[in-house]
Amino acid sequence: MLRKFVAAVFAVLIHLPGIAAEAVPASDDPVLEKRVMEVGHLLRCLVCQNQTIADSHAELAVDLKNEIREMMRAGKSDQEIIDFMVARYGDFVLYKPQVKSTTWLLWFGPGVLLVLGLGTLFVKLRRRTAQIQAAELTPEQKRQAYSLLEQADGGDSK
C-alpha cells in the first residue's frame, strides 16, 4: 500500500517539470503554431524587455501571440503582422533593430571603433619601427663608437 503511494507520488513528481514547462496548447495546427513562434521570435516582449514574445510567458506576450494567431488565420502575411505591432508599440518591439539613419551608430559603431583601433595600432607600430631603424648606426658611426670605447678602456686602465 505504502509502496504504491510512494510510486504514485514519484510518478507525479517526475511529470511536474513537464507540466510546468508546457504552455497551454494554443491550437491543434502545428504549421500555424510554428509560424506564430517564428514571428514571435522577431518581436520583443515589452514587459520583459530582453525576451521575445515567443519566449515570454508574460500575459501581454500570450495576448500578442493570440493576436498573431488570429491575424494569421485571417490570412495576414508575416510582414503585415510585424507592421501591425510596430504601428502600436513602436520600433522597439522589433527584436532585431532595423537598419536606418537613427540606428546606424548602433549597427556600425562597433565596426567603426574596431577599424579606428586597428588603424591607430597600425600607425603606432609603423612609427615605432621607424624609430628603431633611425637608431641603427652606419658602419662609419660604429667604427667611431668602438674607437671611443677603446680609448675609454685605455684611460681607465692607467
Binding site: 514587459v47 500575459e59 501581454l60 495576448d63 500578442l64 510596430v86 504601428a87 502600436r88 508599440y89 513602436g90
Partner: protein
C-alpha cells in the same frame, strides 16, 4: 602633453554617456501613436454593462484615457491624484478597465474612489493592444479631434501632472 590628456578625455566622455544612460528609464518606450488618431473602440461601460461607449462619443472635448485594473498595484499609487483631479473638474477622465473582472473592478472603485466620468471594460485586452498598452497604468491625453497628444507610462506623479499633463490639457483646451 596631449598624449596623456587623450585617455582622460575618452574616460570623461565614457562617464558622460554612462551617466546619461543610467538616468534613462528603459521602461518608457516612446509611443508611435502620438499625434495619431486614437484607435476606435466601442466597449461596455463598467457600471452599466448593457451600455457601450465609443471613441466617437468623446469627440469635441479634451479628455484623459487612464488604463487601470484592480490587479494593478502601481495604480493605487496614482489613484488619489486622479480622484483629486476629478474633483477639480479640469478634465474628464475616462477609465479603460484593462483585463479585469467586472466585480473586482467595481469593488476596487468603491474602496479607492471613482475618478472616472466612465470606465469601459476591455476584458480581453484587445483595445489595450490597439493603444499599445504594455505597462498598466498608462494615461493618454486626447484632444478635441480625437488625436492622441501625449502618453504617460506608469503611475502619474504630482510632478508629471503639474509639469506635463495639466499644461498640455490647458493648451489643448485653448486651441
Amino acid at each position: 602633453m596631449t598624449r596623456f590628456l587623450w585617455p582622460l578625455a575618452i574616460f570623461l566622455a565614457l562617464v558622460g554617456f554612462l551617466a546619461v544612460g543610467l538616468n534613462l528609464n528603459p521602461r518608457e518606450v516612446p509611443s508611435p501613436l502620438i499625434d495619431k488618431p486614437a484607435p476606435q473602440f466601442s466597449l461596455p461601460v463598467l457600471h452599466k454593462p448593457d451600455m457601450t461607449l465609443s471613441r466617437d462619443d468623446l469627440m469635441g472635448q479634451v479628455w484623459l484615457l487612464n488604463v487601470w485594473a484592480s490587479w494593478c498595484v502601481s495604480c493605487r499609487q496614482e489613484h488619489p491624484l486622479l480622484v483629486e483631479l476629478a474633483k477639480a473638474g479640469i478634465v474628464p477622465i475616462y477609465g479603460l478597465n484593462y483585463k479585469d473582472d467586472r466585480n473586482a473592478g467595481l469593488k476596487w472603485l468603491n474602496e479607492h474612489g471613482d475618478p472616472y466620468t466612465a470606465s469601459i471594460m476591455d476584458a480581453d485586452g484587445r483595445i489595450g493592444i490597439e493603444y499599445g498598452v504594455y505597462g498598466v497604468p498608462e494615461t493618454f491625453v486626447i484632444d478635441k479631434q480625437g488625436v492622441i497628444r501625449h502618453k504617460h507610462i506608469g503611475p502619474i506623479t504630482p510632478q508629471a501632472l503639474q509639469e506635463k499633463l495639466l499644461p498640455m490639457v490647458r493648451e489643448l483646451n485653448a486651441s
